[in-house]
Symmetry: C2
């Protein structure tokens, strides 16, 4: 036995490597945060002395989940307003709530809550964006979860950027500060959408992202109405418009892409841009159903995402996998589409590819980062276990995650957070949310 820092043993390993190898009684050796060995347990396996040895107790070990789209601080607005027309939900609840309550301090609190929820449910990498992203990055780095963090750009006064004319320079300052600072944090620029950012803003933001080699994220083709809201796009679809003005390339992540036709799919595929698929948010907001089968068959990198808590209302990637697997079957009336392996890939290696991290994460392979989770399968809803991939997609819940590791560091151990103070976060959120609820009850602007 080589001298690892940590070994995990007695596990069914679902590697999600290219061959989709499943190792029934396997072990993983970790050195310096990386997977150094992944194999069947040797005969006569002994627990070595002097290193951390984690008994997976016959459970499943799989790559950590990669959530390609959320807005972490919006956990503060979970359940604040539901089942409303989109314009009422946004203009009467979400935008006013953000205007009033989004401060750096509250962003830190909402981000801590999001990190707690995500880590406990097996998410090891989160991609998304918001305002005061510097405060987000601060908490994400404390939590230890891997993050691709986009400073928001929008052509309205926004939290932390009261003068929209400063939106690009604020984004550049954020990416410059965080670029290369920590191995687990990649800064990014997040333009809100083609209908809330002018052509000039979109081009300048993309130029800034290109100049620094960071991911450019944008909500695109989310609703059927979006096309009519984009100034100066003429008859072009949102995707055609973004392509026309030079936004699409290998470092662009299009979030949602619900209303894309065959021509749009071809444009995305040719550009090398990726897509974040958020089925639960698209369902809850009644945006529609993204043509994910076409996106995948065109070779586009598609990653799953939960979207923010106000439109889901959780950050549980296990439920998102279950929904993704089922939704497209119902729509196409074909039970063979979106099989469990395709779905699991979309939440791991496919998601990693969509955000440019597939060389580092997304599968359990020698040389990759030790970003992984252990599922406790000794529970009524997880037996029998004929097929661990089916169990992961269709039967497991976020709460079945026992341990979580990012870059070799245990961030969840026996269902408890090691890097965050859960009770402190919950208690502070309760205090804040009572104030938000009181204002809502009194009929005042949020």
């Amino acid at each position: 036995m080589r001298s690892f820092d940590t070994i995990i043993y007695n596990a069914t390993l679902v590697t999600v490597n290219a061959a989709f190898d499943i190792i029934p009684r396997g072990m993983i050796g970790i050195i310096n945060g990386k997977i150094e060995e992944i194999s069947a347990m040797p005969d006569g396996f002994d627990i070595p002395d002097g290193i951390e040895a984690i008994d997976a107790a016959g459970g499943i070990v799989m790559p950590g989940l990669v959530n390609t789209h959320t807005h972490m601080p919006m956990t503060l607005f979970r359940g604040l307003a539901d089942d409303l027309p989109l314009d009422v939900w946004l203009n009467q609840y979400i935008f006013p709530a953000e205007g009033k309550w989004i401060t750096p301090e509250n962003v830190r609190l909402g981000t801590a809550l999001a990190c707690a929820e995500m880590l406990l449910s097996g998410t090891t990498t989160v991609c998304g964006g918001y305002f005061y992203e510097d405060a987000v990055a601060e908490i994400v780095s404390q939590a230890g979860i891997r993050g691709v963090l986009g400073q928001g750009v929008i052509d309205f006064p926004a939290p932390g950027v009261p003068d929209a004319g400063d939106n690009i320079s604020a984004a550049m300052a954020f990416t410059q500060k965080w670029y290369g600072l920590l191995p687990t944090i990649q800064p990014s620029i997040f333009c809100h959408s083609p209908y809330t950012c002018s052509q000039k803003t979109l081009k300048a933001a993309k130029a800034a992202a290109r100049s620094q080699g960071v991911l450019f994220q944008i909500h695109a083709a989310e609703t059927v109405l979006e096309q009519t809201l984009i100034e100066g796009s003429g008859n072009m679809s949102p995707v055609q418009y973004l392509d026309h003005i030079g936004i699409l390339d290998e470092q662009t992540l299009l979030v949602h892409s619900v209303w894309v036709d065959d021509k749009d799919v071809e444009i995305i595929a040719n550009s090398g841009a990726a897509v974040s698929h958020n089925p639960e948010s698209n369902m809850k907001l009644a945006s529609g159903i993204a043509p994910v089968l076409k996106l995948l068959s065109s070779g586009i990198a598609v990653g799953l995402g939960t979207d923010g808590c106000a439109s889901n209302n959780d950050l549980d990637m296990f439920q998102e996998m279950d929904t993704a697997a089922k939704l497209h079957k119902a729509q196409t009336l074909d039970p063979t589409v979106m099989d469990v392996r395709s779905v699991l890939k979309m939440a791991t290696i496919g998601a990693a590819r969509a955000i440019g991290l597939d060389r580092k994460i997304g599968s359990l392979e020698k040389g990759k980062q030790a970003d992984l989770l252990i599922i406790d399968t000794h529970q009524p809803h997880l037996v029998p276990l004929y097929n661990p991939v089916s169990q992961i997609v269709y039967s497991a819940r976020g709460s079945d995650v026992r341990d979580v590791m990012v870059a070799g560091r245990m961030l969840v151990r026996n269902r408890a957070l090691t890097s965050l103070d859960q009770d402190d976060i919950l208690n502070k959120v309760k205090v804040l949310s009572r104030k938000i609820a009181a204002l809502k009850r009194h009929g005042r602007v949020l």
Copy 2:
């Protein structure tokens, strides 16, 4: 304070009564298995001596969930075969597996596993059917969960009924034995479908159910092809056919009802029959999306159900609520439909109405049975808590259920089963499933 057997206090009570009252800091007093008082906690509330007093710790107390459709023993086939065309799935996997493995002993084991899973995730009443239903009823009565249990009727040789000619008499023997035997068990007759039962069988089974005053359950209008499979139905839809031969009345539960047109909806509404809506199973098997909004607006009693584990693959009613709330929004592109209250009703009082038990269960009201659950809300994915109904439908998971009571009896206490030996069940299921998996691997008939 009156002398209750049990009180539950320090809870947000989501009553699901006609006024949909929510009592922020409430208490429930229970005598002899019934709710005797439900109210706000009085000022200066003291924990009384000498009775069981359960502190809900500020969590949510709600009516127990009512699963209107499943096949409990099929937990044994969870994840055995997924993502296959319906005929391959049924004929090459499920039917052969049932033929080989469904014995009274295995039915008892699979039922125990189902009861464990359901109780732990807050289901207090289960309706469904299978073969060897006597063995099912035996375990259900031990588990203490409330059951509407249908002996299966089909025109093929079936487990326990090798001669299909005996199917009605077997069903009658079952209902006679269990009718009135225990307050928590209602026997029922479950005809498999209009395409696997002849007109003669359907009529005889319905006559038997009528003569004993028990619920008649039947899968109906599940797939688009079903109409072509019904012999002698001519141009009639499955619902028209069942109406034509006199099957539909107030004690008929139509399971699925995916392929029903406006005329069918009118027929169902006029007959007084109810519908079990199983969105996750309908999605996974690519059956389609039931027109639930129309069913509800026509006044039909609609209850949620999970279906069996082979087509879901779990029995978690919380996930089923979440999916039901979102699916119909995506289909109609209207975010206001299937609001959280409508969905919660469909899993509680509406479901109770669909199976004829709404006078006894389905809401927290004085005089009703004490069938309820406590949700532990002090968790990252359940804060903030602006709206407990939104939290129940969109954010909670089965694993958030801390305690479960049926007829005043605590069946889950601090997430542990009191009436079943969980480890014993899990270990026995593991042993059996290894045998099933071994045969599957060797390519032999299941």
